[in-house]
Subunit: 128 residues, 2 copies
């Protein structure tokens, strides 16, 4: 399978696939003409990576997840720990965004949004 076919199957851009190879997440064979050749197992790994990325795991987390996936002797506790840590980061990110959201929402509501220059948003930013 060549790269564009794999891209279609996995939903990952070809650029991304090359990048993942470059940083050692996957390996690919080469055809005599220099083209990358992917095996089914490579496609499988790439799809795995795509889903992990979609869940927000960092590349380094993905590397660890892939290693755990390939390790038949893994302990599910290790996977869970990784996921829980990531989940905690998501939680705190959400909390942070929600706080911004609340403040912004308030300010936006208070703002007349007309042609006059007076603006509570700017006033808040410039306060003190």
């Amino acid at each position: 399978m060549n790269i564009s076919e794999v891209a279609r199957e996995t939903g990952l851009p070809a650029k991304t696939i090359r990048y993942y190879e470059e940083i050692g997440l996957i390996k690919s064979l080469r055809d005599t003409n220099g083209y990358r050749m992917f095996r089914v197992s490579d496609v499988h790994k790439l799809a795995f990576l795509g889903r992990a990325r979609a869940l927000g795991f960092s590349i380094e987390d993905c590397r660890r997840l892939l290693a755990l996936y390939e390790d038949q002797c893994r302990a599910s506790a290790d996977v869970k720990a990784l996921a829980e840590e990531h989940l905690a980061q998501i939680d705190s990110k959400i909390a942070q965004l929600r706080s911004m959201q609340a403040t912004l929402r308030e300010l936006v509501e208070e703002c007349a949004g007309d042609r006059r220059p007076d603006c509570p948003i700017l006033r808040d930013l410039a306060k003190e």
Copy 2:
């Protein structure tokens, strides 16, 4: 005022202040020895920027906000539009994170987290 004093007053790292100057968000005078000298109005602007950044506005948005702030003839509608657009982005970011959070939470809950290799998290990532 020199840079470390401004850093203390605004809560921004000196590096960040230099960076903001480099990209033209603020300007500073120079002392004869080459040291940056900040006026009270510069400190004020930097504090403004710090609060805008804390609300998640991008640097370019901050540049626009600052311009609006300085423009006595601004229309509050312009500020509001900017804030609303940003708010919409925050909303969608939150939605995206919440979706990840929900999936991950479910998977984490299902995972035994013991020494056995079987793991619903990996199974989900590898599905199909």
